[in-house]
Structure formats: C-alpha cells, structure tokens
C-alpha cells in the first residue's frame, strides 16, 4: 500500500463561467514551485495557458450502479489521468509532481473528486489536493443566487479566491459575506488585494509535509469561523450553510465510523463537506477527518494538540439539514459505544476545556457526548 502523502496531488480549480479560473491558473503556473505541474482543462477559454503539459478532457460521466451523480466516475478524466501517468512512467513527458484540473464553469467538481479518490487504479497513484474555487466579485452574488452549480463549487472548496474586487462597487464585501455564509471553513483570498501565494493555495495541504501545520491552523480558524453559524441557508445559498459541532470527552472511533458512513450513505448528497479534528478515545494525538459528499479521505493526525482545548470539533457544510438532528444522532451512536466520555468539560465554543488536566467527573454517566456551541 502506498503512503497517502507520497501520492501525486491533484488540485481542482473550479468556478463559474468567466470567474477567472484560467487567469488564476496562468499566474500560479509561473511560480517555480508549480513548474512540474501537469494541467488538464475541460474547455479552452479565451485566456490561453502557456504551459508545457496541457491535456484536454471531454466531459463524460459514468454513473455507478448505486450511485448518485456525485458518486460518478468521470470517464474522460479517468482516461486522461491514466494516459498522463502512463506517459510519465515511460518517460515520454516530464515527471510531473502535481496535476491541476481546471473544470468547466458549469461543472460539479464532486465527480472529479470521486474519480480521484475511488477509481481503483488512480487511487494508487494520485490523491486529491486542495479544491480552489474562484468567485467573481462583480457577478458572483448574482451567480450564487441563480445557479446552484456555483453554490456547490463554493461549498466544497478548500480555498476561495475572489477576483475582480477592484471593479466591484463594494470591493467584494457582499460576495465575501455570501461565500462565508456557504463555506465558513475555507480561507478566502482577494486576488486583487493580496499577494498570490502558491503554497497557500495549492501546495500546502493536510497531506503535504511542509503545509500540514499551516493547513491545520487554517482549519482551526475555520472551526472558530463556523462556530456562530447555524447551517441555515440564506438568499444566495440555495439552502447551503455551515456549522461547527464541538463536543467534550473522547469519541469512540468505531461508533463514529459507523455513524458517519451511515450518514454519508443516506444523506451524502446534502452533506457537501465535513472537516473534523477528533479526540479519539485511547489516541493521544488528534485525528483529522476530511470528506467531500460521500467521499472521505483517509484520516490523518497532527502531532500533539495545538493548545489545552482537547474538544472534538467538526465543521459540516450541508444543504437543507438540521444541526440539532445531526448533533442528536451522533450523541445517540456514541452512547452505545465502548468508550463513554471519561471527562466532561465546560460548554461554550469560545472557552477552552483543558481536558487533560481535569479529574474524571465522579458521577459521570454513559449519557454520551455533551455538545457545546
């Protein structure tokens, strides 16, 4: 079995029509850090990509027997990636170390993610890197309101990039607020106002040796940012919103796996993203989970907790789902597990719970996890 962090990362660059995906990619590819990147594009737009490794993929989708659209193998992509890898192995093209896929403006990026993570051959050579979603500050708010595709693109993003903020009346404040409401867990970069950092956008992710610590810091910001959200959609979001669950006491990994797999099987089309840092019973370091709809990356860990707050926390980006129902269901599953919470910390997302220094509660019952907001 190949170690996950040694696989070739694939970044998805998505965004609505005219949002500036190709312009962003063209700028990124000038960076020496991305010199060994192969690029797959779904459509050739007006902006040309001057890069030595470009392949073109026609869009075709192979639906799985039991799958919804997000669990579809993109036949074109599968073929293109296998062909790229085969040429690389034969030495016919340079040995690229990264792939960037630019989707068409109307594409749902989820089948691309599913293809990379679940296709039996590809999963041994490639892994999913950051999903970067480009949002146009002039037209973005209207696109989010009218086109559910653009909401989904924003919802599953690991990075949100705002373009054309210098041309927008409010310098992009409205569209920034709209995308934060949909996806409170992803950092937002203003391309007109901030320097373009390839590490921050593409190369630094949870599975890269260099970028892991910074990525986790971004996750912690995301947990805090989503703490005040309730998951309810608003005018622009077609019912998509984010929220963060915090809970005290160690979590039973087996019960959590049962619960999450059952939730994603039944509601995966509506659970657009899940990012979590879990305090797993019997495991000293936090375990990190990362999912896109029905697909979950292999869990990973960080070395040591970032501070004295050892509470588990999970960000959900969902469409039309109730936060309280999800909380209650997870608590019920954990109650039947082998590891009732040994320690109950104080409630309140803003307060640290130094769980490692507190003695066990003398009367703690098997009442399950206690959630705090």
């Amino acid at each position: 079995m190949t170690a996950y962090d040694t696989l070739i990362p694939i970044n998805i660059v998505t965004g609505f029509l005219g949002s500036g995906k190709t312009t962003l990619l063209a700028r990124l590819l000038k960076s020496p850090a991305l010199r060994d990147t192969a690029v797959l594009v779904n459509e050739f737009g007006e902006v040309g990509l001057d890069h030595h490794l470009i392949e073109h993929a026609e869009e075709s989708v192979l639906l799985m027997d039991s799958g919804c659209l997000c669990c579809a193998i993109r036949g074109d992509l599968q073929g293109a990636l296998k062909s790229l890898f085969s040429q690389r192995e034969r030495g016919e093209i340079p040995a690229f170390r990264r792939v960037a896929i630019e989707t068409s403006g109307l594409a749902d990026p989820t089948p691309i993610a599913y293809t990379i993570l679940a296709e039996p051959v590809l999963q041994h050579h490639f892994r999913l890197g950051n999903v970067v979603t480009v949002v146009d500050a002039v037209n973005g708010a209207a696109q989010l309101e009218r086109h559910p595709e653009s909401v989904k693109q924003a919802a599953i993003a690991d990075r949100l990039v705002l373009t054309k903020t210098a041309m927008a009346d409010d310098a992009g404040a409205a569209v920034r607020a709209a995308v934060r409401k949909i996806n409170a867990a992803a950092p937002v970069l203003d391309l007109d106002a901030e320097p373009l950092d390839p590490d921050a956008l593409l190369t630094g992710d949870l599975y890269s040796a260099d970028g892991k610590r910074r990525e986790i810091a971004g996750w912690l910001d995301g947990f805090a940012g989503a703490a005040g959200e309730d998951g309810d959609g608003h005018d622009h979001s077609h019912g998509v919103g984010s929220f963060c669950l915090w809970f005290d006491g160690p979590m039973d990994w087996t019960a959590f796996g049962l619960w999450m797999s059952m939730l994603l099987n039944h509601h995966g089309e509506r659970v657009l993203r899940v990012k979590g840092m879990l305090n797993v019973a019997g495991v000293a370091d936090p375990v990190l989970i990362n999912g896109v709809q029905h697909i979950v990356h292999p869990p990973t860990h960080m070395t040591g907790w970032p501070d004295g707050d050892h509470r588990s926390r999970i960000v959900f980006i969902v469409q039309g789902m109730d936060r309280a129902e999800i909380e209650g269901s997870l608590a019920a599953f954990n109650r039947m597990a082998a590891h009732p919470p040994a320690i109950l910390g104080p409630a309140g997302a803003g307060r640290a719970a130094p769980a490692d220094r507190r003695p066990p509660h003398p009367f703690h019952s098997n009442a399950g996890l206690r959630f705090s907001r």
Partner: protein, 107 residues
Amino acid sequence: MCSLCGVLGGRGHWTESSSSPEAFASRQEEVTRRRERQERIRLANRVLGHYGLKLTDFGGGAYVLSTRTGRSKIVDNITEVWIAAEDLTGRGCDPLDPSLLAGLPAR
C-alpha cells in the same frame, strides 16, 4: 490484485484504523484489526437490528449481511453494509430517524 477474482484491492476503508496506521500511531493501547472488526460488528448489529438485519464476519476480510428470512449479501466494508441494508430491506437506513435513535441501546 486478488489472484482468485481479479479485483484490484483498494486502500482499505477510511473507518478501519488499520488502513491509516499513521493517524492512530499515538494509540495508548494496542487495538488489533480483529478486535476492531468485532467491535464494529457488535455496534453495527445494534443499529441493524432496527431493520431486522444481522451482520457477521466472513473470513476476517468481508462481512455477511442477512435478513431474518435468510436473504444475504457479502460486502467488503461498512459503507457497503448500509447500501446492502437498503437493498435487502427496500427502505432507507437513515441515522437521523428518531425511531432508530430511540431504540439504540446505551452500553
């Protein structure tokens, strides 16, 4: 690849800690793959009982999911258990269903 059936092996299901040893390297007590499977089966049966189903181990590498009338399916991992459960019962297996949650026993 399995030499008998020609199926390419996957990475292992994300719920199995043995498939991500790095993530669980700081475990304070050794948990064998077999023990984790037994615990998964025990907990899954508490849920599956609500649907009249029973899960058993099949050679340490797969599971058999059966109805009370003896219909059964062999599955590889816990995600496939839920898909097979919905196929065998003809109903959705929803972890948010209040009637399921009300019947889940606490340990």
